[in-house]
Every structure is written in structure tokens, then in C-alpha cells.
Symmetry: C2
Subunit: 319 residues, 2 copies
Amino acid sequence: MPLSARVPDLAALEVLLAIARTGSLNAAARQVGVTQQAVSARIKSAEAQAGVALVARTSRGSTLTAEGKVVAEWAARLLAVASELDAGLAALRNDHHARLRVSASMTIAEQLLPGWLVSLQAAARHRGEQPAEIVLTAANSETVAQQVRGGEADLGFVEGPTRPDGLRSRVIGHDELVVVVRPDHPWARRRQPLSPGELASARLVSREEGSGTRDALATALATALTATAPRRASAARTTAPAALALSTTAAVRAAVLAGAGPAVLSELTVAEDLASHRLTRVQVDGINLRRSLRAIWSGGQFPPVGAARDLLAHVTRRQ
Amino acid sequence: MPLSARVPDLAALEVLLAIARTGSLNAAARQVGVTQQAVSARIKSAEAQAGVALVARTSRGSTLTAEGKVVAEWAARLLAVASELDAGLAALRNDHHARLRVSASMTIAEQLLPGWLVSLQAAARHRGEQPAEIVLTAANSETVAQQVRGGEADLGFVEGPTRPDGLRSRVIGHDELVVVVRPDHPWARRRQPLSPGELASARLVSREEGSGTRDALATALATALTATAPRRASAARTTAPAALALSTTAAVRAAVLAGAGPAVLSELTVAEDLASHRLTRVQVDGINLRRSLRAIWSGGQFPPVGAARDLLAHVTRRQ
DNA sequence: GATGGTTACAAACGCTCCTTGTAACCGGTA
DNA sequence: TACCGGTTACAAGGAGCGTTTGTAACCATC
């Protein structure tokens, strides 16, 4: 895998954006909290690294070059994702005393929560409040439900069709498992959707045994196949052995991109890849791969304390 | 704006993913091209920085902890965006002899091209071919058309309703200007769409004079207003003065997030913010803010040489 | 012409990271 | 039991990079 040796530092990109905002190396330096010389040097080295002139210096201020503006836009996106990671890390390290303990399934923790945390922070910060301190635990759906039931978590997020027993819940969105292949895979050129049988007999790149998405696919395939051919074998044998079993979706995605074969992944995890044509989605007929995303909590009809309410309200805006 | 001091290095995150893939510090080190000790130290410092244990070391291999898996997923997204930036930078620095010269409008260059470049690279690399070397120029739509006409660019990408004179074109997608506010802005709670008049008299955060999106909004407002009130003043006076005029969309977005007021931005630039509720979209009635994205080229009915054909075919997959 | 603003150059310090060398641990296997 | 191949951790040295401090040049304004 190629390593991003020519991509400037995150800090350097922040400096670049500061220059775009302020129109001066000096002012940018003050905003970032270093000296003007440091900013000058940083940008110089960033330009050398990138091989492109980013800043047009004049003796009465500096503006971004045309290329610099484009790079600044890209940098802003990168930093937005970085701040999601930052917020996620803050939620993950539980040294400080938790004000809100959230337990979420892997898919939600990995794909959605960072964005929620950032926007929640921004909203709170603007109201002049201290952003809520959130402690995040990522686990599978059953564990999440257990933790909410046992009071170890104030709020939980799980995927799946049913509401866990003894808990209140609200649907906050939907997710769908999708079949993805590289654009040069034969399936990418299909005009007709796959049948459940074809999907079941395909050698997929998948997560390791016991993963939520893998189980979800297996049961969905089982119900689809028994519906069409009732005398078929049990669920355990409805899928062909995996071409490759990996421990993270990131690894699965990388394997698919490297040509290892088709995979079934959450729509959320591959949305960007589909948009940029790195991956192609293959339609499947006669099988229900859609599932709800739910917030769950225990106790009253409405979620308990302030922070949990805030988060839930924030999240349900999307309906 | 807060700076991401607790986010590990991009290189450290790459190392983390390498460990996830290989299951061993040693193997990861070989893959990355450094010694095992370096990997050990990197991860150690990354864990200290993040405040979370990421890797579970045993004396016969290492796997990621539960938290580590979550972080790895976030890191993969960050690195994906970083590699887009990388591909964009490669296209921007024109030292090497160009095989394909692309000229694109700001919006497309900033929002869509990086993703295309990455997937194009991946596709080529897999076919065993050398990825096409692309030289990118970002400019406004008229300049792009000029460069394509004059042969300075092999392929162009512009937004706008009309096809530039004397050029072939193909619609490759759509974009829409959207009104966005912070979730705590009064407009966020409106049930009825804005009228063109309300939008015109609002003090918006906007780009500087001469920007494509700003012009597009002005003309769209002008036609909407003359349709409803034919005796209205000329286009120049259809909009209230800007609350703030900034030079990059990143700055505009930051200003909106900081509470400076509503803004009108391309849907493409705020898609992520809308998804994560950092920003809220406000509907507007009776005004057409939708525009096509077109690839343009000069000469025959189909785009000229191989590399340009490839890129165009790649991009039109999305229809 | 002085003043306040800008950027650039140069030297010294300090930190971070990498490499080399070494030790400890675990699980096979002879 | 001893060895070998695999793993990770610890320690010391060196190189590189970024930052600060000090200085100079440039430009506009008063």
C-alpha cells in the first residue's frame, strides 16, 4: 500500500487554512500560537513537499495561490475527518469522569458516532456550554443491550430489526448491507440483479466468524433461500466458505480493492468508495439486507438525563 | 479553531493499519519499510498520545484491542481522504511531462476530482498499467472552456446550464446550491420553505465577488424575482450586501459554523456537514438552484486520446 | 523620514524518530 | 532438555526537523 509521504503534516495544513482565513503569515502565526518564522518555515517545507506553490507572499500580506485555494479545500476535508477522529479518541479514553456513557455497535461507533460527536461539540460550544464528556464503548449488539440494561451505559446504539427486551428504543436511521466489487469485476457489468443463490455460492471477502455483518448476511441468505427452496440445508451451510476472512472492515475493503473478490459490507462503510467509483455496487434480488439503526435506553418513555437527551435529540434530527 | 494535537501522525495510523492487516509488529515493520523497534516506538507514542491502548502485544504476535479496531476504522477513513489529497497534489504539480491535461472549475476540482483520481489510479494499477499522469488546472468555468478550446487542456469539467460554444460535452452529474444554517439558527426550525425574497434580503456569508457560486445565486435570484415581481430592480441589486465575504468555501463554512449567519453553498461541499448535523439545510421555494456538471472537450464526437477517454468513461459510470 | 506592518535569512537549541545492538519471552521440535 | 524461529521490549547513539531568537529588507501610511 502506498504511503502518503508527500502529504504535508496535519499541523501544516492547519497553518495553511489559518493563512487563508487571516491573509497574513504573521496573523496566522498568532492564531496558531507560534512565531511568524515558524509559520514561514512550515509553509516553505509544505510547498517543497507538495511541489506546488501554495502561498503568494507580498510584503504587505499573503494570499493563497490558485493551487493553494484548491489544496486548502482538500485540507479542510482532511482536517474535518481528523477532528472526527479526535472527538472519537476523546470519547474512547475514559480517564476523565464520564458525564455520559454511550455504548454502540461496531458499525455505528465506526461510521456515525465521530460525526455526531463533532457536531454535538460544536453545538454545545456555541451555546457557551462545556461540551458533554462522552465515554464510548464499542461492542456487538447484545453486549450493548446488556450494558444499557445493567446501567453501565446511559444510552446505546444498535442495528437490527428487533428492539432488545426491556428497553425503550427509537429508530434513528437505516443501514443496508450491499454487495460491492471492483469496477473491473464481471459483476460490475451485470444488468440483472444477483439471485440469493448466486450470492450464497460466491466466495466472498468477509469479516471473521462472529462479526455482526457476517451473521446478518448469513441469516438473510438463509431466510431468502428457504423461502424459494424450503428443503435446503440449514443456515450454517447457506454460504460458501469465505475467500478471505479479515478482522476489520478496513481490511476487507482493502482486500476488495486489491482484487480479492466481492464483499458484503454496510452501505455506510462504502458510501465514499461508491461515490468515487473505487467500488461498484451490485444489486441483489429477493433478499432483505436492510436493517434499522436504533437508539436504546432503559427506564422511562423518554431518555433519562440531560446529556443523553441532547445526544438523542441531536441524532434524531435526521429522522 | 481547535487544533488536533491529540491525533496521531498519518504515518502512525498507517502503521496501525499495517498491524491490523499483518497481526504482528514485525511484519508490519517490514511492510512499512522500517525496523520492528521503530514500529514498537511509534505505536507506543501513538497510544500515549491517544490515551487509549490500541494494540494487544503477546509474545507470539499482536492484535488490535477493541478500541484499536474502532480507531483503525476511523484511521482508514482519514487515510482515504489523505490519499485523495495526495493524488490531487500529484496532479497539481506539473513537473513531469503531462499525459493528460485536465482543467476543472473550482467546485469540481475541490470536491470531486480527488476521488476520481484515486479510483482511476487504483483501476489502472490493478490492470498492471502505469497510472495516467494527470496535470490539473483549477479555474473558473470560462477559463476552463478557453483552455479546452485553445488546446491547453485535453479535457475540461465545468458546471452550468449551457454547453460552451464550439465544444462537445456530456453531463456527468448534478450539483445544487443549498441554503445552510447552523442547527440553532431560527431558519433551522422553519416548517415552510423560504421565499426568494426572503433569501435575497438576508445577509449571507458568501464568497468574494466574482466567485462562480456567488454569481449563480445572484442570477437565479434575479430570474426568480423578476418572474414574481417584474418591475423589480436589476440583478445587481437583488441581493442584500453580504454579512461576510470570504475567499474560500472552507472559510465560508467555518464562518457559518461559528455563527456568522446563513450561507449558500454547493451541495457537494456541505454533504458531510449535513449528514452529521453540523449544518442544517433550509428549503427554498420558487427558485432553481440546480445545475449540471459537464465534461467538455474539443474535436470529435467522442473524446480524443486514450487517457482522456479513460477518465471520461470512469466518471460517467455514475451517469 | 519615521512608524507599523509585512516577509525572509541565519544560528542555536531541543525534541522526535530511526537504527543498531541486546535481552526476554513463547512454542514448536529434535 | 536444548535449540531455533518467531515474537516484543529496552538502551544508546546519531541524524533530521521544527522552533525560537535575533536581524534585515521591503512597502504603505502618516
